[in-house]
Symmetry: C2
Subunit: 654 residues, 2 copies
């Protein structure tokens, strides 16, 4: 754990109460008037546009109180403007009427509408689902032509910026860059940043020297007759250099930019305080010769590229608008396309795969410790033999204590760094909230009254990243409906482990196979079926995914994706089963075509008490029994005798 | 049949022998030199860009001999250029070496590579799969900078034109519009066009007055604050006006353009010789007031739009480059998007659906006549009891006579107009060629030696359009492998009739469900699973489809698609099962979500002699038996006693 201790854990409290929130908005509005802005757009992004942010980049949380991982606020400079408009009514995308109440709005996706309404002051912010009321429509329905809307170009992707700009342009509304970030100007008590050092990610972990990776990128540039690429994603830069860091919770990276030239040369734009001079020689041995430039020098790059008439390859979805606007101003010829690191990063090499499998074994042991502990805690309440004293013990446990207990078990594993995301520890109806987080909502729910518990969690290990969801029996009140729906979800997950598919298959083609068992009963789930997973990097990684909207990247050998169908009954319960699978070639000489399959690397029991056996085909039963046999082999030697007994029961053949 | 008699059946012979083909190329090259062109691109398109062309627009067939429905040729002006380059070798997309032999090349898709090689003179043309060797790469690998490539802008979509233009631009090669079509200038014996009159498509057939359809389009324009749209697709124009015609084989339309304004006004650009003045009043009663303009007046439109500063909505995939380039030159503001008729045309109204069902019953009767006839013809050769005399009779039948016999049975049905596409009548190994056409290849194959016969055919009826494929036993030599693979294909087809799916599901999500049974055995098929079908219009219709590349149009109530998985073993046999299904809402009050399903409208027996029952689930067996019961109900009263006996056997419960 030592060198991976997280340095910037400043534990900001964003939920400072309503008056504080009101004061912040007042100060911001004053500043907006000084800048002649009619409104300000605040995104949840920093200049690297990552899903995970350092605490001092949590500007959206600071100003709105909302802590979800995606959302955008628009704040009008005049707090009376809406009331002047007499509660203006607009039409949403379903043509339903929506009354605008507040002179500020927060736009979030379906995962976060409930959380955003709880976390924001509803006298300050209206909360909208971003497809039902579009940010652009909200602005144009309130503000007239010649209004000025401020935005920090560093905190929005170029493509999204252009989208908003063009929508507003049709109404003669101007989108202007604020220069400095206005939230930063009023965020006076922001904790100082302690630069956390860049860490070498050793060759026995990464499996491919940085110089080889740079050659690969350089060759692509050469083939396309382009001079260089600018890489903004910290995950890509860290993968490319085989380094890691501790700048961001849940994501072990050094935030930085890189430029790779078609000759293979590389410039690393990074806060130089993160590169201890004592380590430079060691770095050079690790990844060879590159140029180290302080991230503040990025500004000089644009004119230099223009001077040399260099042509630049760049990802307009993953690069902030400030960089691309500067390149455009300097007349640098641009070719847009996907970040060149993204695809090779997704195709894990043998060392990375071995690491992923190894950390999944450790993670399976931690999960089994936890599930055995939980089962012993709850067995009496499930079978109804509980006494009053024991009931008290059970009720002292809640979503937070369960999450902490699981973290404790994970922490005991070798090479564990931190959680790969905030644990979703959800009892009863809370599990129906897809991205539930007990920290964000009023109070954690206690064990004792709900039959089902959903736990979605994962770890960052030096060898890789894990992500697993299990839904287990923890209390009285289990119904036949719950068992039926659990079994349908499980059938969907098994379907994606059983399916064989040809090369060239997209994730979008497989999505329905996981849903079909639910669909046949008129049921569905409102999220994707699977996402890529990084290697000691982001737990959500592209370019592959399994969803109806998966892009044009086929699933190829060595890619890892989650498989996580679910079912959610609002206000009652939620079910999700999640394994990670690695795409492997099937060696079968009788097959005319080479086929692929997704082999599980997650090995933790599914709760067989929730399965309706008669709904499984023989093939599905065989799969479950073989899977549980493998679980036993992997974890049994790491468990106590008590836990081993639990394991035998939990993995008994059905 | 009377008014639908096809008027322009000039039966051109494109396969005029090598010397004729050589002479045409010589004349064309002379003309190219006069125009200072280094090369000419010849597409298989007319100005409406439809899949089906009038015979006198078959320019690609005239110059190359290739009669497939898609392909592009590039012809260099100097026939010695390639030999001067000493059989230049280039790399294809798999990085394999390809030797360029001829100074002209034909680029076709996977359906047509075999056919194109047979139909073209291989001393004149190289044939390439269009993704393996790209047309643009072929040009740039041969021609240097400042070369001039001619193209008729009227015969290519704007988007494809821009794609080629930009690829060539990077090599300083210029794409220039030839003005007149150079093929037309050397096609001296082209048959004259007899204008075929526009025909009223009555309200009891169309189900929605033209004026309502125009209002719908006008409202979309109003909502988007656009002044008008230009519609180039003849299918869209014919649907919009509720008219039909006989300009094109297999596609009962009047070729024409339309302009619809946001006020609902409409201009119809059509060869006015097709509008008999005696009929004008009748037309006015049928579809209300519109302006009739001769198609030659389209040129005046551009300046008029510019003068009025009108904003135009236009489909850049389905509009020829000549129109859009003219609009751009006139500085007309353009908004690009899908043809506004395409989506409402795909969602059939109740009258259209009733018509589709009715013509499918007639088509089922014709198919049963045919299959019963074929079974009686072949039963003795199948069971081995055949005598020499009967064998002779059987061998006198070949793919062509079978196709003719089927056409005869269809022709006997009320309101039959013509085939909806060239019948694929394929015995044995020919069925492994996905778009096989016995007319195009050397000689039709005779009955007698192959176990399997694949027949993919359809009809245009006044009430709608049909498309059906059956694979049946017709001779000795059936193997267990054939039965196994037939059953896998059938399972895939049944899967798409059984699946229930929520609103918003794309065709791309369902594609794998039809393939999964084959995938599990390492098998697949190299074509989409389903396409939309027009209503007395194009048998291939968008925007919906079922394939891994289906766009972002969900399947909605009233859409019709084919479901046609297959299996093809090269040089041995081919299997395909195809039904059309209509998307319907499932009325099930126990379903929390409204689900959709694809209900068959095709009712013709599947050959139960080819089914391995033990491979079907109980649910699949139930589906087949219920389906066959329904087939009996629909067709039995239209069959002779002999045919009824056949039907009882063919639809017996399995």
């Amino acid at each position: 754990m030592s060198e991976y201790t997280y340095l910037n854990d400043t534990t900001q409290n964003y939920d400072d109460g309503d008056s504080l929130q009101f004061g912040r908005l007042q100060r911001l509005r004053k500043l907006m008037r000084q800048h002649n802005l009619d409104a300000l757009i605040v995104t949840r992004c920093d200049e690297h546009l990552s899903e995970y942010l350092p605490p001092n980049s949590e500007r959206l949380a600071f100003i709105t109180g909302f802590t979800g991982s995606a959302g955008t606020a628009v704040i009008l400079n005049d707090e009376h403007i809406i009331s002047k408009l007499k509660n203006k009514i607009i039409k949403d995308s379903n043509n339903d009427e929506v009354t605008l109440v507040n002179p500020a709005a927060l736009f979030v996706d379906g995962r976060y509408t409930i959380q955003a309404r709880i976390q924001t002051n509803n006298n300050l912010y209206d909360v909208f689902h971003y497809t039902k009321v579009k940010l652009e429509d909200w602005i144009t329905s309130i503000l007239g032509s010649h209004a000025s809307i401020g935005i920090d170009l560093k905190c929005i992707s170029y493509n999204r910026y252009i989208q908003i700009k063009e929508a507003l342009h049709n109404y003669q509304i101007e989108l202007v860059c604020t220069g400095n970030n206005l939230i930063d100007e009023i965020w006076l008590d922001k904790a100082p940043v302690h630069p956390s050092p860049a860490l070498i990610f050793e060759d026995h972990l990464n499996g491919c020297p940085s110089i080889e990776k740079r050659k690969l990128i350089a060759n692509i540039l050469k083939e396309r007759k382009l001079d260089l690429t600018i890489i903004s994603s910290s995950e890509s830069v860290n993968w490319l250099l085989n380094i890691r860091g501790r700048d961001v919770p849940n994501l072990p990276v050094v935030n930085s930019f890189a430029v790779v030239y078609s000759c293979g040369d590389m410039e690393w734009y990074v806060d130089l305080k993160k590169i201890p001079s004592s380590k430079i020689t060691e770095f050079q041995h690790h990844f060879g010769n590159i140029s180290y430039l302080d991230e503040s020098k990025l500004t000089d790059l644009f004119s230099r590229l223009a001077k040399h008439k260099y042509s630049v390859y760049i990802d307009a979805n993953n690069t902030n608008a400030w960089i691309i606007e500067n390149l455009k101003k300097a007349n640098v010829p641009l070719t847009f396309g996907q970040d060149l690191c993204e695809y090779p990063k997704a195709c894990k090499n043998p060392i990375e795969l071995a690491g992923m499998k190894s950390c999944h074994c450790k993670d399976a042991v931690a999960m089994c410790h936890f599930l055995a502990w939980l089962d012993h805690l709850t067995e009496k309440i499930i079978d109804g033999s509980i006494g009053t004293g024991s009931l008290e013990i059970i009720k002292n446990n809640n979503e937070a204590t369960l999450s902490d207990q699981l973290f404790k078990f994970r922490s005991e594993q070798d090479d564990f760094i931190e959680n790969s995301f905030d644990t979703i520890s959800a009892l009863g109806p809370n599990a129906a909230i897809i991205h539930y987080n007990h920290i964000n909502l009023n109070r954690p729910r206690s064990l004792g009254k709900d039959p089902l518990y959903l736990v979605d969690s994962g770890g960052q290990y030096k060898e890789g990243t894990t992500d697993i969801t299990r839904t287990v029996l923890v209390g009285p009140g289990l119904t036949e409906e719950m068992k039926e729906r659990f079994t349908l979800v499980l059938k969907g997950m098994i379907a994606l482990h059983l399916i064989k598919f040809p090369k060239g298959t997209y994730g979008s083609a497989l999505d329905a196979l996981a849903r079909a068992p639910l669909w046949q009963h008129g049921l569905n789930y409102d999220h994707g079926t699977g996402h890529g997973v990084g290697h000691c990097l982001n737990v959500h990684e592209g370019p592959q995914s399994i969803s109806s909207r998966s892009g044009q990247t086929p699933l190829v050998e060595g890619m890892i994706t989650s498989i996580e169908p679910g079912y959610y009954k609002e206000n009652e319960y939620g079910i999700r089963c999640e394994n990670l699978g690695v795409v492997e070639v099937i060696h079968n000489s009788s097959f005319p075509n080479e086929m692929l399959t997704m082999v599980p690397i997650t090995y933790v029991p599914f709760d067989i008490r929730l399965i309706k056996k008669e709904m499984l085909t023989d093939e599905e039963k065989r799969w479950i029994n073989n899977y549980h046999t493998k679980v036993r082999e992997i974890v049994k030697d790491h468990l106590s005798d008590l836990e081993k007994n639990w394991l035998l029961k939990a993995t008994a053949a059905i």
